[in-house]
Every structure is written in structure tokens, then in C-alpha cells.
Amino acid sequence: MSFIKRYLLPRLLQYFLVIFVGITVVFIVPRLTPVDPVQEMINTITQRGAYMDPEAIEQLRQSMKEMYGLEGTVFSQYISLWRRLIIGDFGPSLSQFPTPVVKLIGISLPWTLGLMLVTTLLSWIIGNILGGIAGYFSSSRWSAAIERFMMVLRPIPYYIFALILLLVFGYVIPIFPIAGGTSIGLKIQFSWKVIADLLRHAILPALSMILLGMAGWFQTMRLVMSNIVREDYVMYARAGGLRDTKIAFNYVIKNAMLPQVTGLALSLGQIFGGAMVTEMVFSYPGIGGLLYTAINAGDYNLIMGITMFSILGIATGALLVDLLYPLFDPRIRYR
């Protein structure tokens, strides 16, 4: 059982250590900013003209600080954070007090998960297939053409790309809605109509992410693939008169997929962080937009709640890779 002692336990320890450090950083950094959640709240309320008596503001500030649990030293806040996190309580949102953070996340997370899961998987699959084909037949003309296309596609600034998609498919050829996650009046229930509507709203954001994401996967896959095609063991298998399909699957794709699977596991971990810019461009409901609001409102608890999800997601993804990779690639040992 030396595997457990020598590899698994230390690796798990590292896993928790990483989460611990991540959470600590996310706790400290917002508190170093000049943002004061109480002030931001008072400003949001008064900015638009709601009249607050100057005398009342002072008292309000004090009472809000108490309610928000921002009284006391940073260290005691930190201790109480862990006390809460251990029992799975993220506390109330400060900007939407007293709505619990988990509830806010619960509203937004399904949108994010739905969108990101599908786009991450699809861009991975399409990118790898295209990249694989282009890498395998790297000398063919259309392989070069598709490579050039991807090369130019990938670096287009995402925001601009998304905006162009929106202009083209939302305005010039108005086949997709330009904002939101649902049509006016839609009640979420299980019917084909509802699913079709949800899909219609998700297509543009998804498309923008799939296209650019795909280009990234394509490029790495093509690179890996064209390297593997030149590997000696592929040449050798060919010399041995193996069938092309056998070579393609057992010798090229199987080996090329290894780094890509790692990449997929980590990207899947990242989806908990949401897609801030996508959600902003397409006005799509989700966790990224929520995080942006939280940061700007100095909503410490909400920031913590959302980033905690993404930290857990990525850390687990990385752990997954470390634990499973040796099963796929015998060259790597647990160490």
C-alpha cells in the first residue's frame, strides 16, 4: 500500500493545500482593494437620487457593517470565514442582503454549466477532430487552408468577434435573439417549445465560444498530430504493412489524445468560473456576470462563493489529471 502513502496522501494533501491557499488569496485580495461594500451599497442606493438623510447615512453605515459581519479585525473575519466554509455556508450576499450566496449562485450556475459544458465539449471534440485530420494529412492543400483559417480566427479579440456574430446573426440576418436566456413570457418547464427557445438563445453565445475555443484546440491538436505522424513508431507501423485505419487509431490518435484529455479535464474544471465576457456581450445569465457585479460591489461573500466553485473545479480537474494520467500513459509514473 505504499502507493497510498507515497503518492495518494501527499497528492491529496497538496490538493487541499492548494484550495486553502486559493481561498486565502481570494479572501485577502478583495480586502486590499479600496472597495468598501458598505459604501458601494450606500452609493448604489443614493446615486440614482433616492434621498437619504446625511445623518442617517452615518448610522446606516454602522448598522450595515454589523449585519455584514465586517466588524472586527480582518483576522477574526478570516477565522469566521473558515468556520462557515467548513459547514458549507457561504453566508449572505452583501449586495443582495440577506439573500444567501448559494441562492444567487444557484440561480446563475445552471445557465453557466449548461452553456459552458456544451461549448467546452463541442469545441474540444470539433477542434480535435479537425486538428487531427489536418495534422494527419498535413501535406494536403485543404489542411493548410483550414490551418490558416484557424490561425486567423483564433486571435480575433473575443469581444469583437462576439459582437460581429451578434451583428450578423442578430441584425443583418435576424435569425437569433440578441440578448437574454429566454423569450419574454417563457416559463421554464419541460416542453420542446421551451427547450427550443432556450437553445435559440444559447446558440450565438455558444457559437462564439465554440468557434474560438475550437481554433485553440485545433492548433494544439494539429501540432501534436503532425509531430506524432512523424514519430518513428508510426513510420515503423507503416513499414510493417499495418492498415491505415489501424495506424490512425492505435498509433496516432490514441497517442495524440493524451495531452488533449489533460487539457479537457482542466477546461472542464474551469467552467465553474463562468465566461464573464461572453455573458456580458450576449447578456446571457450566468455566473461570470454575477462575479463581475460582485467584484464591483465589493460583495466579499459572493466573490468568495463563486471563486470557491472555480477553485474547486480547477483543483479537482488537476487532481483528476494527475491521478488518471498514468493509467493512460504508462510512461508517467506516480511520484
Binding site: 485580495v29 486590499l32 467584484i295
Partner: protein
């Protein structure tokens, strides 16, 4: 120079090198700009490209061409700083962790993984709020360097691990070679291809991050960069009002920049890859 001449045999490299040279020349041109880019209303607004204003003018009353030169300079400086410093950290951590193993490895990888799991964009936004007006291109470059090394340190570490397995390490160790000598003489040559390829990827990432932050309005908007140019163009509705020259300029420049960086990365790593290197040297001898 010989290396360059050899690289220039590659059509991809030639293209990328040409584009990059043009961009660098443009960046240098920025020092001869007739306008101070922090001053608005120095030229008529919203003029399409003409002989007088090669790339037209924007709604702030600035010449887009000269704005672009400054933007290229600033974005490049930022990207190079980010790439350079993150490489330093990545090499140090990767080699050390891979070579030493054990506790050192575990500690370093814990730190490394902590950086990997941290959500970069939110933290950048928060850091931007802390640094406020001190957030110039150099500082931004350094910040991005702090967040841009972790992945590559892991790569370098695993490369070092596999090098450690090779026989020459044992031979070297047994023959009493000093550790740093071993690392610098024997390992670094294998690590350099990763470093150069990832350096270019890192610049790619840094410029992308800057663009994202600027579009969100969170970088220093008074400094022209590719990102802030897009920010101003978007917020003045250049796209909808048909001032295509204003929005297209930074987009095209950044695509060109990225494409040339990508091609550079591909051809340089091909050049440096020990395996293709042997082939290439083999043929090079033949070709001579």
C-alpha cells in the same frame, strides 16, 4: 545571423518575421509621433482614411495611425515584460522542482498549483483596483508575469523529470559534474524549446488579457494600447456608426501580431526541436 538565415528559409518564418518587423518599426515610429496621444481634438474628428490621415481620425480627435503606433509599442512592451519575467520564474521553478524532487518538488508544485487554480481575470480586476492609476504597462506586464508562469513551470518540470530518467544524468552525476553545471549544460538545451514556444504563447495571452481588461474599462484608459483603442472605439460606437477604420485598426493589428507570434512560435520550436533539428541539420548539410 546564420540562425536567422536558416530560419528565413521557412516561408512561415519569413512571413512572420516580416510582419513582426513592420510592427516593431511602427512601434519605433511612435517616438516620432507629431501628436501627444494624451491630448484630444488635435485633428478633425471622424475622418475616414485619406492622404493626410492614413488611417483616418477618431471621435476623440486623434490620428488613428499615430495612435496605433503608440498602441503597438505599449502592447509589445507589456507583452515582452510579461513573457520575460514569467519565463524566468517558470524555468527556475520547473527545473528546481523537477530536479530536486521530494519535498522541494511538492512545495513548489503546491505553490504552482495554487496559481493555476486562482481565477486570473477576477484577481486582475481586483489588483487593478488596488493599483489604481499606478497601473501602467510595465506594472501590468509584471502582474501578468506573476500569473502566467504556472502552466509552463509544470511543463518544464515534467520535461526535467524525463531528462532525469535518462542515462546521461546518471553518468554526469557519477562523474561528479556539479548540479548547476548539469542543469545549465545538459538540461537547459532541452528546456529552451519549451521556453521559447511558451514565451510566445504567453505574449499572446498577455495581450489578450490586456485587451479584455481594457474592453471592460479596467486598465489605464489614458495609455493607448491595442485594448484601450478597442475600448474607445467600442464606447464611441465606431462599429455601428461605420467608423470602420477606427475599430478595424486595432483588431487587424492584433490579429497580425498574434498570427506572426504564432507562426514564429511554430517555426522556432520546429527549429529548436531536437528531433527535427537533427533532420534539419542533416538536410542542411546536404543543401549547403
Amino acid at each position: 545571423m546564420a540562425v536567422l538565415r536558416e530560419l528565413l528559409r521557412d516561408g512561415k518564418f519569413t512571413f512572420a518575421f516580416t510582419v513582426m518587423s513592420i510592427l516593431i518599426i511602427l512601434a519605433i515610429l511612435s517616438f516620432f509621433s507629431p501628436y501627444d496621444m494624451s491630448i484630444w481634438n488635435v485633428v478633425p474628428r471622424d475622418m475616414p482614411p485619406s492622404a493626410e490621415y492614413i488611417l483616418g481620425t477618431n471621435s476623440k480627435g486623434q490620428d488613428v495611425f499615430w495612435e496605433m503606433t503608440v498602441a503597438i509599442k505599449n502592447s509589445l512592451i507589456m507583452a515582452v515584460i510579461a513573457a520575460f519575467f514569467s519565463r524566468l520564474i517558470a524555468i527556475a521553478v520547473g527545473l528546481l522542482a523537477g530536479f530536486k524532487g521530494g519535498m522541494t518538488d511538492r512545495t513548489l508544485m503546491s505553490i504552482n498549483d495554487s496559481f493555476i487554480v486562482l481565477p486570473v481575470l477576477p484577481i486582475l480586476i481586483l489588483l487593478g483596483a488596488i493599483l489604481k492609476e499606478r497601473l501602467n504597462m510595465i506594472v501590468l506586464g509584471l502582474i501578468l508575469a506573476i500569473f502566467g508562469w504556472a502552466w509552463d513551470a509544470r511543463l518544464i518540470r515534467s520535461q526535467t523529470l524525463s531528462l532525469r530518467e535518462r542515462e546521461f544524468t546518471n553518468t554526469a552525476m557519477l562523474s561528479g559534474q556539479k548540479v548547476y553545471e548539469l542543469i545549465f549544460k545538459e538540461y537547459l538545451p532541452f528546456v529552451i524549446p519549451i521556453v521559447s514556444a511558451t514565451a510566445i504563447n504567453n505574449m499572446f495571452w498577455a495581450v489578450g488579457m490586456e485587451v479584455t481588461m481594457a474592453i471592460l474599462g479596467l486598465s489605464n484608459l489614458t495609455i493607448p494600447t491595442l485594448g484601450t483603442m478597442m475600448h474607445w472605439a467600442i464606447s464611441y460606437q465606431a462599429m455601428l456608426l461605420g467608423y470602420w477604420w477606427w475599430i478595424a485598426t486595432p483588431v487587424v493589428v492584433s490579429v497580425l501580431l498574434f498570427v506572426s507570434l504564432y507562426l514564429l512560435s511554430v517555426s522556432v520550436s520546429q527549429y529548436l526541436d531536437p528531433r527535427t533539428r537533427i533532420q534539419r541539420i542533416g538536410t542542411a548539410k546536404v543543401v549547403k
